[in-house]
Symmetry: C2
Subunit: 342 residues, 2 copies
C-alpha cells in the first residue's frame, strides 16, 4: 500500500509544476482581466492535477519511454504537444467545478471561496463558459495531424455532454423513490469516470496509437473513475472525521444515495432511519451502529468487491502497453484509488 | 426597403422549417429527458433562425447554386452537411441566451419564461452547458475532410471565447465612468458580431473555399453584426413604443451605454440627465426632447452613418462571390438590418 501511495504521490507531484506552468502559458490573464482572473481562480487555488498526470503518464506508457525522457510540449517523433491536451482536461474539470458549486450553492472549494462567492454569479457562469471554449482551443493546439485532432475533439465534446447528463441524472435521482445500483453506476460513469477516460485515451489518439490502445486506455479511465467514486462512498463511512476533513457518515446523514445505501435498501435495510438526519444529533456510536447494520447486510463487502473489481479490470487493460515505469505508475494509481484511506 | 424586407423575410422563412427539422433531428429529447427538454425549450419557443439562414445562403452563394438546388444535409459535390453547421451556430446562440438570461435575471425570452424561470437555476446552467458541447458535436458532423473540420472547430471555439469576453466587457463598461466609442464597437463585435462572422464564414471553411472567400465572409458577418447592433441602438430612440414592443428610449432611461450616448457624452451632452431615470416619470415629450438634443450634437447622424458604413462595407465584401440569388439575398440582409424600423 505505502509503496503504491508513494509512487503515485511522487509521480503526480513531479508533473504538477509542469502542468501549472502550462496552465499559466495557455490561459494567460488577459483583457478583460476580471474574467480571466475568475477563470484562473480555482485552477490557481490548487488541485492535485491527477487527470493531467494520468494523461502524461499514458503518453509515456504508449511511447514506452522513461519518465521525463521527452518534452511534453514536443513529445515523441512527431513533436506532439501532449501537455496542451493535459491542460484541456484540467480546464474542463475546473469549468465543471465552478458551475457545480453554483448549482449546489457551495461556499468553499479547495480551501478558498467558490468562484461565485469570491466574484459573483454572473462572473462565475461566464468564467466557466470561458474555460469551456478554452479547453477546446487547447485541444486544437496539440499539433497532431487533423484526423487525430478531430477524433480528440470528438472525445472531448462527447465527454462534456456526458458530464452534463451525469449531473442531471444525479439531480433526478435525488427526487426519486428508488434507484437501481446499475443506474447509480451509470451516473457515476457519466459524472466522474468519463473525464478519466478522456484523460487516459486522448494521448493515445493524438499520438496515433492503434485503436485497441485507445480503447484499452478509455476502459482503464472508466474503470478507475468508477472505482474511485465507490471508494469515496466507502471512505465517507469508514474514515475518522478528523482524517476525512468532514463529518464521517455525511452521506447517510444527508440522505445522499451511494452504492452502499442502494445495496442495503435492496436488501431490506431501512436506510432512511439508520442515523438521525440532523448533523448535531448524530454521535460516533450512531455511525458505528449504522456501519454494523450495513456490514451485516453485506453492503460494505459488496461495495469493496465492486471497487476492487473495477480497479483490477482497469489495471488489466494496461497489459496492451509496453511494460515500464509509466505503465507501472498507472497501475499504482488504480490500486491507490481503492487502497487510500482518505 | 420593402423589396429588401420581403426578400429577407421570405428567404429566412423558407429555410426556417428545414432548420427546425434538423434541430429536432440533431438535438433529440433523450435521457435524461428533463435536461434535454430544458435544452430545447428556448430553441422550440421560436426565433427567426437568421444566423442559420445566413449560413445556408452563404453555402449557396459560395457554390453559385440556385436556392434549394441542393440538399443542405448533403451539399455540393462532396456531400457536406452544411445544415449540421447551421444547427451548431443556432445551438451556440441558444446557449448564450439561456446563460445571459440567468446573468441579467431576465424573466421572459421569446414570449415564454426564461429557462431558469420555467425550470430552475441548476437546470438552466446545465442546459446551456449541454448545448455548448452539442454545438461542437454538430460541427464535427458535417462530413467535411478533417483539415476543414479542425478549422471550423477552431473558428467555433474562438468565437465562443470572444462572446464570453464581450459579455464580460459589457459588464465592465457598466461600472466605468467613460467608455470610448471604439471600445464600445469592440464589445459589440465580440458579443454579437463574431457569431454572424462564424455563420457566414464556416460554410466557406467546410466547403473548402479559398482563404479569400473565408475572410470576405467573415468580414461580412462582422460588419453586418456591428451594423445590426448600432441600428438596434437607433431604433430604441426612434421607433414608437407600440412598434418596438417596449418603452421607447429604454436605453436612456436605464442609463445603458450605446454608441449614440457615448458620442453625445464626448460632445458635451450631459447624457445622464437627458431623461428621468424612473420609467413611470418619463413622457413621450421627454424622449422627443432628448432625441432633439442628441440630434443637435450630431450623435444620431453619427450612428446612422456608422451603421450604413458597416453595411456598405459588408455588402462590398460579397463581390468575391458569384452573382446570383443567394448573394443578392445576403446583400439584402445587410441592407435590411439598417433599413428595418423595428
Amino acid at each position: 500500500m505505502s509503496n503504491d501511495a508513494d509512487r503515485v504521490e511522487q509521480a503526480v507531484q513531479e508533473r504538477r509544476d509542469l502542468v501549472n506552468d502550462a496552465i499559466a502559458d495557455m490561459l494567460p490573464i488577459q483583457r478583460p482581466e476580471r474574467l480571466y482572473e475568475a477563470s484562473r481562480y480555482l485552477l490557481d487555488a490548487g488541485g492535485k492535477r491527477l487527470r493531467p498526470a494520468v494523461l502524461l503518464l499514458a503518453a509515456e506508457a504508449i511511447e514506452g519511454v522513461e519518465p521525463f525522457a521527452e518534452d511534453y510540449r514536443s513529445f515523441g517523433d512527431e513533436d506532439i504537444d501532449v501537455m496542451a491536451a493535459a491542460v484541456s482536461i484540467e480546464t474542463i474539470q475546473s469549468f465543471t467545478l465552478i458551475h457545480d458549486d453554483i448549482m449546489d450553492d457551495d461556499d468553499v472549494r479547495r480551501g478558498v471561496p467558490a468562484v461565485h462567492r469570491e466574484y459573483d454569479l454572473e462572473t462565475a457562469i461566464l468564467a466557466g463558459d470561458t474555460l469551456y471554449s478554452k479547453a477546446f482551443e487547447c485541444m486544437l493546439d496539440t499539433g497532431a495531424p487533423a484526423d487525430r485532432t478531430v477524433r480528440a475533439l470528438d472525445e472531448l465534446a462527447t465527454t462534456c455532454t456526458r458530464i452534463c447528463e451525469g449531473q442531471a441524472l444525479d439531480v433526478e435521482f435525488e427526487g426519486r423513490e428508488s434507484v437501481a445500483p446499475d443506474e447509480y453506476i451509470e451516473m457515476v460513469e457519466y459524472k466522474t469516470a468519463v473525464l478519466y477516460a478522456a484523460a487516459a485515451s486522448i494521448p493515445a489518439i493524438v499520438l496515433g496509437a492503434d485503436d485497441e490502445v485507445v480503447e484499452a486506455l478509455c476502459g482503464y479511465g472508466l474503470d478507475v473513475g468508477r472505482g474511485f467514486q465507490i471508494q469515496d462512498d466507502l471512505l465517507d463511512l469508514t474514515t475518522p472525521s478528523d482524517t476525512l476533513g468532514k463529518q464521517r457518515g455525511s452521506d447517510l446523514i444527508e440522505g445522499k444515495r451511494t452504492i452502499i445505501s442502494l445495496h442495503a435498501r435492496e436488501h431490506g435495510v431501512n436506510v432512511d432511519t439508520l442515523v438521525p438526519h440532523e448533523r448535531d444529533a448524530v454521535t460516533e456510536d450512531d455511525i458505528d451502529a449504522a456501519l454494523d447494520e450495513l456490514d451485516a447486510a453485506g453492503s460494505i463487502e459488496y461495495a469493496r468487491e465492486m471497487a476492487q473489481e473495477y480497479v483490477d479490470r482497469g489495471k488489466n487493460r494496461l497489459e496492451i502497453l509496453p511494460d515500464g515505469e509509466a505503465r507501472r505508475t498507472l497501475e499504482a494509481i488504480a490500486d491507490y484509488l481503492v487502497e487510500r484511506e482518505y
